[in-house]
Every structure is written in C-alpha cells, then in structure tokens.
C-alpha cells in the first residue's frame, strides 16, 4: 500500500490541475457534509422527542375520562364521566402485571401561601407510584409514601418552580404551606426534567386531597404500568380496560371521548417507527447527494485517464501490468474521495458540535452523530471512491500500447 512512487504520481496529477481537483473535492465534501449534518439534525430531533417522551414511563397506560359523545341506553350525550377509587382498584387487582399505579385528582389555581408570599399553583392528589410513572426526580426530602395515603396526612411535595417562587433561598422541608386555606407540611421537593409545567405542581396524598377538598372517592384520571408486557399484549390489556370501564359507566362502546385508555407503549412504538423512517429518508438523501459527488470524481478520473493515455501506453511498453495500472487509477480516486470526504465529515461534525452547544430546545437536543454513523460514512466514502475510479481504470487498462504510442 505504501509505495512512494505511486503516491508521488498521485500527488503530481492532483497538483497539476488544482482547480479541477478542488472542485471535485468540494462536491464530495459537500455530499458527506450534508449527509452528516442531516443525520445529526435527525438525531437531534429524535433525542428531543425521546427526552420529551421520557417525561412519562413508556410502559404505562394513562386512563382519562371526559363527557360522553354518544347517547346510550337512554342516557344523553354530554354526560360527564368521573372515575372512582374502585375503578383504579379493579385494574390493579385484575392485572398482576401492574407493578405501579397512581390515581390523580387535580386542582388548578390553588392559592399557596408561605410567609408573606402568595401565588397560584396546581395541586395534585396522587399515589406513591406517581413518582415513577411521571418520572419526577426527588431533589430533597422524600416523596409521598403508602402511609401518607393510608392516613391521609396533610403533607406535600413541592415542584421546583413553587420552591423557587415561595421560598427563594430558604429550605422548604419541614415548613408549612397554606393551600386554599389548609396547612400542609412540606416533606420533599421534586423536579420534572420532561416538562416545565410539571414543576408548578404540589403533590399531596390522593386521600388527603379527596377528603380536604370534598371530592369523596373521585379520581380525575389514573395510570398503571404494564410491566413486561409486549406491545401487542399491552394493546389487548388497554382494550379490555376500555371495554370494562365503558360497561361499568354505561358508555356506548363506540364512544371515543368519554373513556380513553392511552397506551404509552403504542405511542412510543409509533414514534420509533417514525424516526426510523426519517433516518432512512435522511440516509437516502445523503447518499444521493454523495452519489452526485462520486459521479463528479468518476468524470474527473476519466478525463485524467484520457489525458494520460500516452503515458499509460508508455508504462505498459515498459512492463506495467494491467493490475498496476488499475491500482494506480483506483488508488487516486480513493485518495481524492477520502481526503475530500474526511474534510466534509469533520466540517459536519464540528458544525453539529457547535449547534449542540447553543441549541437546547424542548424538541431538539444534542444533535451529535454517533461513531457508528461516522464510520459508516467513511466506509461508504472509500467504497464510493473505489467505484468512481473503477470505470476510468478499466478504460485505462483497455488502452493498447500501440494506439497510445502512435505518433500524431
């Protein structure tokens, strides 16, 4: 591979016509640059959306209720459906796959008061499992536990924004906050990396919320995990729960609004599909851009071969074998594409790194590409270089010394 004379010759032809070399190089570099940057942007979008999805546990069902949209069994449309503790209990008891669950009972615009500060935030009554399902992170103290729920204790876990707004620099744990006139002791603080709005919540035990605010045994919505169930199994489970709840609450089986069982497994699978599609598309676009560059290299190489016809003929007369001529041309093409392509690759990676430093949007983070993609692009380049050199090289091999040496 390392043959000084061959390299000298390659450098010579490259240097002889710098403009042509540069133009060809640019087309290849641009091709790989576009491929890399688009891949990076694709990854950025994917990372952003995945991160957003991690807001909630992926293997979970979120079960909401709303007003009915269809009349059924003598009942009018527009009837409000409200779940009760027993609905949640039924699901938890029936499916042993459910490892974690939580009901949720929320109130908006709750006046929260600490010291001289009063501001409106949201309050949520939840079960201990809410922490895992919502993927919140406890930043101080503890989360709500089973004992809190059983005894309906007046304790609360505050979101990051509430802590910042009400307590400023003070430590909130152990302090008391008045929420719509009821005092709660702060036992912990949390942060939700997925969504900023979650940080405006104060969690309290669901039983406390039901009792203190007069909601008896009502649950606004509830959520359960599906454990190790496969996608199909989880879809079945969701359908069963949907049917059960509709029958129990006298809802038309075709009513899509009153009872909704949202399967996060399914959404995640769909999202994965969408991104596989996007990435495949990006690869295709990049590969075709690269192809344009490669055709450029092939074109240049065939011009070079044509210009060097006589020289190749002389070499053959002096004992150059077809293999050595083939090797010379292909090596030159590979060299040209690899150098130009590497420049494009590095430029693309640098651009992505810079972008990554400045961009951190909810749906777009960390647009870097991984080592595998880089390696793939490089291998692609080398193969492409060889291919672009192949046709001109075969043409060079076919040159008959007699014709090349004929004096014109």
């Amino acid at each position: 591979m390392f043959d000084v004379d061959k390299w000298l010759e390659i450098f010579h032809t490259i240097i002889t016509n710098p403009l042509r070399t540069v133009l060809t190089g640019v087309s290849v570099a641009l091709g790989i640059f576009i491929l890399v940057v688009m891949q990076g942007l694709g990854f950025g979008l994917q990372n952003g959306v995945y991160k957003n999805m991690q807001d909630d546990a992926i293997n979970s069902l979120y079960i909401h209720s709303w007003a009915t949209s269809l009349p059924y069994k003598g009942l009018n449309a527009g009837r409000e459906i409200t779940y009760k503790n027993e609905d949640l209990q039924h699901v938890v008891d029936k499916y042993e796959e459910v490892t974690t669950f939580s009901g949720r009972m929320g109130m908006w615009g709750v006046a929260m008061e600490y010291g001289s500060e009063t501001q409106n935030f949201s309050l949520r009554g939840v079960h201990p499992g809410h922490l895992e399902l919502e993927r919140s992170i406890v930043t101080g103290g503890r989360f709500i536990n089973a004992g809190d729920v059983a005894d309906a204790r007046k304790i609360t876990v505050l979101g990051k924004t509430i802590v910042e707004d009400l307590f400023r620099d003070k430590t909130p744990i152990g302090e008391y906050v008045k929420m719509n006139g009821v005092l709660f002791r702060v036992v912990g603080t949390f942060e939700d990396p997925g969504s900023k709005w979650e940080n405006r919540n104060a969690y309290v035990p669901i039983t406390t919320a039901q009792r203190v605010y007069g909601r008896n045994d009502q649950v606004d919505m509830f959520m359960v995990t599906t454990g190790e169930l496969s996608l199909t199994e989880s879809i079945e489970m969701a359908a069963e729960i949907d049917a059960y709840l509709k029958e129990k609450h006298v809802v038309h089986p075709d009513d899509k609004r009153a009872i909704t069982v949202h399967n996060n497994n399914e959404s995640f699978a769909e999202m994965v599909n969408v991104f596989t599609g996007i990435r495949t598309f990006i690869w295709a676009v990049g590969v075709f851009t690269l192809l344009a560059g490669i055709i450029g290299v092939a074109n240049i190489m065939s011009i070079i071969v044509k210009e060097r016809t006589k020289e190749i003929g002389v070499r053959k007369a002096l004992g150059a074998t077809p293999a050595s001529v083939l090797g010379l041309i292909i090596q030159e093409a590979v060299f040209l594409t690899t150098i130009a392509g590497s420049i494009g690759l590095v430029a693309g990676v640098v651009l992505l790194e810079v972008l990554a430093m400045f961009i951190d949007h909810e749906f777009f983070t960390n647009p870097t590409i991984n080592f595998g993609v880089c390696l793939g692009a490089l291998i692609l380049l080398i193969i492409a270089g060889a291919l672009s050199g192949l046709l001109p090289a075969i043409r060079a091999v076919r040159i008959r010394p007699v014709e090349a040496l004929r004096d014109e």
Binding site: V4, D5, H12, T16, K310, E311, G313, V314, R315, K316, A317, L318, G319, A320, T321, P322, A323, S324, V397, R400, P401, V402, L405, D407
Partner: protein
C-alpha cells in the same frame, strides 16, 4: 533469438478487412544489429509492434528466445516486455513530470526493485550515455538528443536481450542522429540484439543487415 513464420495481421473486420502483414518469415540471431526499412504503409511499424508484444497477430508463429508468443494475455505480455525487451521511440516517450533518473529507473519499478537500488542503476546508465549532470532535470529541459539518450538508458536498465527502436533518429538532426546511433552501436557491441525501424538509408547503412519490407511482405532479408 527471433523467429517469425508466416505471421499475418489485418486491421478492421468483414468487408473492411485490411491486411497489413501478409505472411512474414524472418530470423534474427542473438547479438545482431538489424534495420527494417520500408516506405510508409509497408507494415514496418506493425511488425515492430508485433515483435515488441505491443500488438497481437492473427496467425503464424513468433518465437522469442525459443518461447512461443502466441495468445499471450495482457499480464504475461507485460511480464515478457519487462523481462526481455527494451523500447526506443521516435518521440522518446519520456514521462514529462519525472526527472531523467526517474524515467530511466521506471522499468525497474515494475520489476519491484527497491527505489534506492534502481536509482543507483539508473545513475550508472546515465553516466554511460554521458548525462550524469542532467540526472535531475525534467525532459522539457533537455534537447532531443539528450532525451533520446535518456530513453536508450531507460531501455537498457532491465538488461534486455532485445532492443526495438522505432525511428530512433526520426526527430533528430544529422549530427545528433549520428551520436545516438553511436550509442546504439555501443550497446549492441555488448551483445544485446537490436532491431531498428527506419526509413533513412544512411541510418540503415550503419546496421549489419537491412530487412526490406514492401506491402506487408519481406522483399529482401539482407542476407
């Protein structure tokens, strides 16, 4: 050294078939200095190309050093050229981006001789043709006679048994022609067989034997 029996070659095909060599019988002994003469179109260049394995022939027999040269593939032909043959052309055919010494050393590159070794050998040969001082010059910086001497040095570096020269003096003035012929005669004296194609009587007269070609056939073998 060389034995040709009824060698025929045509160009084109079908109705446009154009015979160039119409049955050549020819012998050249080891160490001979032979010239091939003929008017243009007589087939002398084609004959030289066949002898030099640069072109194929249609029928007949060609023995080079006792080996049959029919139906060689490109790679084998290249190996035979590299091992047994040296070429000198009318237009020198030096590679213009290589210095004199690199041009001379090039055939050894295809024999995979290490760079240092082949450059040393090339320097010896340049010395022999009186161009030591020009070793690192490009062909464009040299006169015609100097270029042809570089080409001769290049043809000698593989220690060939046969040198084929196609109008070696065709592009040179009279005095330079004589100098170049002196070098070729010098080389021949060392035992290397030499075949020179020329249309100049004066050049042919400097060889030991003149083979005359006419219309694709040998008119006289000069014996």
């Amino acid at each position: 050294m060389i034995k040709l029996a009824d060698v025929r070659k045509s160009y084109g095909s079908g109705k446009n078939l154009f015979p160039v060599l119409k049955g050549i019988d020819m012998d050249v002994e080891q160490g001979e200095l032979v010239s091939i003469m003929g008017s243009s179109g007589s087939g002398k260049s084609t004959l030289l190309n066949v002898l030099g394995l640069l072109d194929s022939y249609d029928s007949g027999k060609y023995l080079l050093g006792g080996t049959d040269m029919s139906n060689l593939n490109e790679t084998t032909a290249a190996q035979y050229r590299s091992k047994y043959l040296g070429f000198v052309f009318q237009s020198f055919n030096l590679i213009n981006f290589k210095s004199a010494v690199e041009n001379v050393a090039l055939p050894l590159y295809y024999q995979k001789v290490p760079r240092k070794e082949r450059n040393a050998m090339a320097m010896d040969l340049l010395d022999k043709v009186g161009l030591t001082d020009w070793a690192n010059h490009l062909p464009s910086e040299m006169s015609g006679g100097q270029k042809q001497r570089v080409a001769i040095a290049r043809s000698l570096i593989t220690k060939p048994r046969l040198i084929l020269a196609d109008e070696p003096t065709g592009a040179l003035d009279e005095q330079t022609s004589h100098e170049v012929m002196d070098v070729l005669k010098e080389v021949n004296k060392e035992g290397i067989t030499m075949i020179i194609v020329t249309h100049e009587n004066e050049i042919a007269a400097m060889t030991q034997r003149v083979i005359r070609l006419r219309d694709g056939l040998i008119e006289s073998t000069g014996r």
